[in-house]
């Protein structure tokens, strides 16, 4: 994707490219035909492990399966979003999947796959309490997608004490 067309799409990428000094950065879109690109899957797996730390099953095998399920549900959720939301999400995720974007927007130095859950959570707090509205907006988008997708699966309700709907 050319930088010029990215800047036309919205505020997020232009400002963040400026933040990241990303003059030479060529972005891969985070969504391809509404589906998560491979880098996006790595990103959301990492975010899932961080945001849902304490909620995810503790046992490593079960946790890995839960995270895998989360990523699949995010993939499905993204396809239902209207075009303008998909475009914004694609930019946001595409940026976060580059080193300058990850640093500039999320404040995270290690790659998503290498960073620990605690490091990712510290980065999330940096976005959440940032003086820059677009970093806060990015935080809320990621928090909502991860939480919304995770708890849309019945298997996650037990941890919340929710018995499911009454059977009619």
């Amino acid at each position: 994707m050319q930088r010029r067309s990215l800047l036309k799409l919205g505020l997020v990428s232009g400002a963040v490219l400026a933040l990241a000094g990303g003059a030479a950065v060529l972005l891969q879109p985070g969504l391809e035909q509404g589906r998560l690109a491979p880098g996006a899957r790595v990103l959301f797996a990492s975010l899932g492990r961080a945001i849902l730390q304490g909620t995810l099953p503790a046992e490593p095998g079960a946790q890995a399966r839960a995270v895998q399920g989360l990523v699949e549900r995010i993939d499905a959720l993204a396809q239902n979003l209207p075009a303008h939301v998909q475009a914004e999400l694609s930019q946001l995720v595409g940026l976060l999947c580059t080193a300058p974007g990850r640093w500039g927007l999320a404040g995270l130095a290690p790659g998503w796959d290498e960073a620990s859950a605690d490091e990712v959570r510290a980065a999330l707090d940096g976005m959440r309490f940032s003086g820059l509205a677009l970093r806060q907006q990015a935080y809320h988008a990621l928090h909502e997608i991860v939480g919304g997708a995770y708890f849309s699966d019945e298997a996650t309700w037990k941890a919340m004490g929710y018995p499911g709907p009454m059977v009619l």
Partner: protein, 540 residues
């Protein structure tokens, strides 16, 4: 497979004229007496009245036709299928999350059944400031009565669930009056799944009342069809251009248009959507009113943990309210608010409650003992509360720019204080103002001090809305509004607006009954003018 009869499937089997989506290809052109954009509160009332008066009606709905057989009480199914933008429509700065329906029946298919007539102070304000002399309490009363009879608005006789009863208990302790909320339900099972579509058809939404009545009288319903724009010439709508859309709102069939030609057009797409259609149509707007004065009843929330089970997912979602914080201050002073309780389900909890990691995990694990209150801020009555403005994006889609000003946010602070005080009075162990910097507090004194220090800024304070109002406001003269007191557009003689975008201010109460009652009157007037009959068959 549902054990309940599905009135929609039965109607389709009886031969209802429905096109779009799986119901068959859209025709290239349709001619009728009246075309109605939308199928929600205003559209349903209008469609029933006009078909009863003998007019041929086409209803154009952007969302799908879903019914009780589809409603399995799962958020993951309901939000993408029945709501605008998968239930996460946002204002332009992303600071407010909006719940609005997008399906046959509109927001009435997914609302929580709360039924309040337009409060008298609101009507008096409209009379005084918007030239709407005919909008008095007594004048409108018969139209409200008809709507209440038609939609079975009735006192809720079942005991409130604990989530609602805690509002009552806390208010009682503080000496604050509460009331019981009337609901548009018949034979309700007290499930609490109203927001996901009523699986028993007890909720008397447009989906199971007025739309079937209109279809039984020969109306045509186009679903998964978006009204793109009116073609205007000579101060009149010449036609309405529509396109087939898929579940994400993308145009289908290479954007091939369906043209609707009618004698009169009624716009009932709801706030945000109706102004957007007029913006796309480049409708005349000589006084720059279109899309402005869009209101949201911005909501802030307070979450408490109780010793006892609350189980806020079960039972009628809203059965108790207090207007104390509206009635004890002037309507045009600092922003007042109405207190109610929302239904609680996993996805809405996880996405509304702030935080991440172990802290949020602990909070979510306490879900069964969590009690939440919400405050509906009464926007639109003060000069520092002018609301928001609807704009179009490059692709023609609608976006609401609603700045959360200090005036609104100070109202939010007072609401957080009021809710915390009430929750402790009801016996809360812990209260958390729903704010990124909120921490659970153990006492009212502690919570008061903390809330007074919170930076009440957008994107830190969680603000949501389930009531979108205004943008095509009623006005006694063309400088005061987009439409005349009879609902007809000031500059376009064969176009009416019949939906929540009519309101010149926020309502100050859950808006569905205001739409039913007011549109009842407007639609009866329209039916009379179009048929030449001096009286038309009333709603009930």
């Amino acid at each position: 497979m549902s054990n309940f009869p599905d009135p929609i499937r039965e109607g389709l089997q009886r031969g209802w004229k429905v096109r779009g989506g799986a119901h068959g290809a859209l025709p290239e052109k349709i001619t009728c007496d009246v075309a109605i954009v939308g199928s929600g509160a205003g559209a349903g009332i209008t469609a029933e009245l006009l078909t009863r008066a003998g007019l041929s009606v086409v209803i154009v709905e952007e969302g799908p036709l879903k019914s009780s057989g589809d409603f399995r009480q799962h958020e993951a199914e309901a939000y993408p299928a029945l709501y605008q933008e998968s239930a996460s429509r946002k204002t332009e700065d992303k600071a407010i999350s909006i719940l609005q329906g997008r399906c046959v029946g509109g927001s009435t298919t997914v609302n929580w059944t709360s039924s309040f007539r337009t409060p008298p102070p609101t009507l008096r304000h409209w009379q005084a400031h918007f030239g709407l002399q005919d909008f008095g309490v007594e004048t409108l009363a018969p139209y409200f009565e008809q709507a209440e009879r038609r939609l079975h608005v009735s006192p809720w006789q079942v005991a409130p669930n604990e989530n609602n009863d805690l509002l009552r208990k806390g208010a009682l302790q503080l000496g604050i009056p509460v009331g019981s909320i009337r609901r548009n339900v018949k034979g309700c099972w007290n499930l609490g799944s109203c927001g996901m579509g009523c699986p028993t058809n007890a909720k008397q939404s447009m989906l199971v009342t007025t739309i079937p009545a209109a279809l039984d009288k020969g109306a045509t319903l186009l679903v998964e069809t978006r009204a793109e724009q009116f073609v205007l010439a000579g101060g009149k709508v010449q036609s309405l251009r529509c396109v087939a859309v898929d579940a994400n709102g993308r145009a289908r069939d290479a954007g091939r248009a369906t043209t609707i030609v009618a004698q009169h057009f009624v716009l009932s797409g709801g706030a945000i959507n109706s102004p957007a259609v007029l913006l796309r149509s480049k409708a005349p707007d000589p006084h720059q009113r279109l899309g402005t004065r869009t209101f949201l009843h911005p909501v802030v929330m307070s979450a408490a943990v109780m010793e006892q089970a609350v189980e806020g997912w079960a039972g009628a979602p809203q059965s108790i309210y207090t207007d104390h914080y509206l009635e004890t201050q002037p309507i045009d002073g600092p922003m007042g608010f109405k207190l109610e309780a929302p239904p609680l389900h996993p996805v809405i909890m996880a996405t509304s409650m702030p935080g991440h990691g172990p802290g949020q995990a602990d909070m979510l694990a306490q879900f069964p003992r969590t009690h939440v209150l919400l405050a509906l801020l009464r926007d639109g009555f003060h000069e520092q509360s002018p609301g928001g403005r609807v704009k179009l994006r490059g692709d023609g889609s609608a976006v609401l720019d609603y700045p959360l000003t200090d005036f609104v946010m100070e109202g939010g602070r007072r609401a957080l204080l009021a809710m915390a005080e009430l929750q402790f009075a009801a016996g809360a162990q812990q209260v958390l103002p729903v704010h990124e910097m909120g921490k659970p507090m153990d006492s009212w004194a502690q919570a008061k001090a903390a809330i007074e220090q919170l930076p009440m800024k957008p994107l830190l304070t969680k603000v949501v809305s389930a009531h979108v109002m205004g943008g095509c406001g009623l006005g006694g003269d063309e400088k005061l509004g987009v439409v005349r007191p009879d609902g007809v557009h000031w500059q376009v003689e064969n176009l009416s607006v019949h939906d929540g975008s009519l309101f010149p201010t926020s309502v100050g109460a859950n808006p569905q009954l205001s739409i039913y009652g007011i549109v009842n009157r407007l639609a009866q007037g329209l039916a009379q003018r179009l048929t030449g009959q001096s009286q038309v068959q009333p709603l009930a």
